[in-house]
């Protein structure tokens, strides 16, 4: 009878073990980053790439975390996400380089990008980018192997234990191979950074004092990973076979692994290396000698073949004169003067470049962040970023408010414009068709507008900002004798303009009387 569900404590143990494995990978990648950094410094001592170890650890962490997202996507979505992830990393690296080297460099390089995108990919950037991409890829492979070793949920209850075990062992083998290969890489890079190159190579690259602790730490972490993966493998086997396991074993495993590592580290540190090095020097001489002998034999054989071949060709055509070398007769072209750039075309090109460039980056970053909601939330929690976001949100809200006010104002104006043609029509109809055709409301408005127009002609122009009541106050001050008429006329206009109720014809006629009096008084101002 096979239990089809894994115990809860088993799942939590697996999770803990996976997390420990992932942390180990990040630390290992940091060690790789250190080796890459010193190798880079050997290539170009002026590079400021001190961030590389941390960057490698962060990229490794990102590669591990994004695996869940990548796994949940299929087909096109997956590739879009991966592309956006890589672009995001590339952009982040570029920003990091500017952070460490100063943003002045950005302003110097920025105009050059649209001329030639090669300026974007500077040598140090390409070095860091390639290093980080390697870290990203390798971390993905290792994380995948670790997940496979710990992912028993799907296998739980599978009765083909032999197949599962074989599969797990192969996965572990693959994991160890990748980790040790990378370790060889770390050692090689560290050695390349430290060792003085032979003079014969004629390469002027001074060695750097690269530390060795990162290589030692890498191998210790690799051994720790091997130990963890071995425990995961055994634990899975025991659980598949329903073997009761002593709960002490996990802690003892950790404790004895630690002791074992301390012991072998101490042993490796204590054991003398100078004797070995003497041996190595001897071996080096022997190897060099062997290589030189082999090279000599190869050269001799090549020479012999060459000599024989030259003999054969001579015997076939002994008197044939040496043919002059064929020189193709290319048509000569006059020295072309590059045409002068067309300014508007250059401008369009520039706009197009920046649109495409920034579009790709913004799309990639947006896609990446939207998929990584945890990362997005974490970024938002950074004090500076949160402050920046709050500021931006405030500005955005303000802009939205302004926009809304603007829209309201425009709509109000449009309403006014919708009325204004009516007024204009009223005025024109009053001119061309007579007042009789207007209704009482339009008549009152006409009287008031006519008053304003006439007031403007007599030096009492209404300012656009003035309300009818403010204008009334001006008129009353100038024409105190018709104060009452002006007051009635203004009130009637407001009523006609803004009220919804019916305006009677009598009221319009009454207003007309007042208007005539005011107009008469205005004429007296001449």
């Amino acid at each position: 009878m096979i239990n089809r569900s894994a115990p809860t404590n088993f799942r939590s143990n697996l999770r803990m073990s996976s997390i420990a494995g992932f942390i180990t990978i990040c630390l290992m990648m940091s060690c790789v980053g250190t080796a890459l950094m010193y190798f880079g410094l050997r290539l170009a001592p002026s590079w400021n790439i001190s961030y590389l170890p941390w960057l490698c650890a962060v990229v490794a962490l990102e590669a591990i975390l994004s695996r869940n997202i990548t796994r949940s996507r299929t087909g096109k979505e997956k590739w879009i996400y991966m592309a956006s992830e890589l672009i995001f990393i590339a952009v982040a690296i570029k920003i990091l380089i500017y952070l460490f080297n100063g943003f002045n460099r950005l302003f110097v390089e920025l105009p050059a990008w649209e001329q030639d995108l090669g300026y974007f990919f500077t040598v140090d950037y390409v070095f860091v980018l390639v290093s980080v991409m390697i870290i990203w890829l390798v971390t993905g492979v290792i994380a995948s192997d670790i997940e496979s070793l710990h992912d028993q949920e799907n296998d739980w209850g599978n009765e083909n234990i032999g197949f599962l075990e074989k599969n797990r062992m192969e996965t572990r083998q693959s994991l160890i191979e990748v980790v040790l290969s990378l370790g060889i890489g770390v050692v090689s890079l560290t050695a390349l950074a430290r060792v003085s190159l032979p003079v014969q190579l004629n390469i002027d690259l001074a060695p750097v004092q690269a530390p060795i602790m990162n290589a030692v730490a890498y191998f210790l972490l690799a051994l720790a990973l091997a130990s963890m993966s071995q425990f995961a493998l055994l634990h899975s086997r025991w659980l598949w076979q329903h073997v009761p396991v002593n709960p002490k074993i996990a802690w003892r495993w950790i404790f004895y692994t630690f002791l074992f590592f301390v012991f072998i580290s101490a042993l490796a540190a204590i054991l003398p290396t100078h004797y070995s090095r003497s041996l190595l020097y001897t071996l080096q001489i022997v190897f060099t000698f062997i290589i030189q002998v082999v090279l000599f034999i190869i050269a001799f054989v090549i020479f012999l073949f060459g000599w024989l071949l030259s003999g054969c060709t001579k015997s076939n055509s002994p008197e044939a004169p040496a043919a002059p070398p064929f020189v193709p007769n290319f048509p000569t072209t006059p020295n072309e003067i590059p045409p002068a750039p067309i300014p508007w075309l250059e401008f369009v090109r520039s706009i197009a470049f920046w649109l495409v460039f920034s579009g790709i980056i913004i799309y990639a970053v947006r896609t990446y962040l939207l998929q990584n909601k945890i990362l997005l939330a974490s970024i938002k929690e950074i004090p500076f970023i949160s402050w920046l976001l709050r500021g931006l949100m405030t500005i955005w809200d303000w802009l939205r408010g302004v926009n809304q006010q603007f829209i309201m104002a425009v709509s109000a104006q449009l309403q006014r414009f919708q009325i204004k043609p009516g007024i204009e029509q009223t005025l024109s109809s009053s001119i061309f068709g007579g007042l009789k055709k207007l209704n009482p409301r339009q008549k009152i408005i006409f009287y008031y507008l006519a008053l304003i127009k006439r007031g403007g002609q007599y030096g009492l122009a209404r300012k656009p900002s003035q309300t009818p009541l403010q204008y009334e106050h001006i008129l009353e001050n100038t024409l105190p004798e018709v104060r009452e008429e002006i007051d009635t006329l203004t009130d009637s206009f407001i009523e006609a303009r803004y009220s919804a109720h019916e305006i009677s014809g009598e009221h319009a006629n009454h207003v007309q009387q007042f208007w005539k009096r005011v107009m008469t008084t205005l004429r007296g101002l001449r």
Partner: protein, 395 residues
Amino acid sequence: MSDTILICITVLFALAVVTSDSFVVTLLYLLAGALLLGRLWTTRAMASITFQRLFPKRLFLGETITLKLDIINKSRLPVVWLRLQESLPLEIATMPFYQHVLSLGPRERTSLSYQLVARKRGYYSIGPLHLTSGDLLGFSKENRLEGAVDYITVYPRVIPLPKISLPSHSPIGNLRHKQPIFEDPNRPIGKRDYRTGDSMRRIDWKASAAVGRLQVKQFEPSIELETAIILNLNNQEYHYRERFDATELAIVAAASIANWSTTHKQAVGLVTNGSDPLGINNLAQPMTPQKGRSHLIRILETLARIKSADAQPVAGLIHQHRVNLAWGTTLVVITGQAEKSLFDEFFRAQRAGLDIVLILCGHVIGLQEIRQHARRFNIPVYALWSEKDLEHWQN
């Protein structure tokens, strides 16, 4: 896995030669140390692991025991993981095999236990105990050890048979008898008046003087029942359909009769043609009739181990061992079939002064004919179909 490490060590060695940098040598030491010390650790630690099983070696049917398994690490090196797998016989195990994974510190002793249930008589091996361990890094192959085997004996079922009656011609024994011919002078039961013909030796002079007339002593008749159980486990002499059950029933009957005899302080022996795993050439050794509980235990152990086999026919077996039996011994022949040749042998045995009881187990072809034959020879015949038939002798 070790190939990968060896390749890595080789590459590191090449790098050390090319670069002549001491740190590469240090790393070389580190990796080689991890490989070699890991392997050495596991090998040494495994070599110093011992174990012992503590359990009663003999069980009665239906009994449940707890077997204690002590695992001892005699080394100063810890054993980080150790997998135990103990093979168990299905007849007594509560699980197909017992397995456990544990960790042993330096000189640590751990006790594990599991239960055994005696469901069927037999002689069973406990183990072997398979021990597996490996290094922490999984770079070397796992070390495996196979431990020793222990044995356990489950006795056959013993049914009390208080009412069983076995014939005997051996006078003066411990068993009461009805026939006055077997009067035992050691068992006086009273006195009576003298009658003509009474032996003068039986007159109780003191009692005669007291009563005033001749009184003779009365003795209870008793017999000595020396029993030899002839257990036939020849497969060919049992019906093929019920061979297993019938032979098991025969063994239960033999064990019960042996127990009854011992309880009544009578000598009992066992002769069988079954296969005994501890016997010479797998043949069970005959046991001459003897008294005592220790002898009964030996018989029960033999009956526990014994298995039916294609063996010598029972007639030949009786013929072979009859000469070693004392006059008056009762042969209890337990078999699955009684051929004419068997009755011929019975006749010879009776001529030699042996009493015979025939117990037939399982399905018997021609039972009536056998009974008729037996009646002619005055041989009691009992036919047992199941263990319930033995209850006839209980009440």
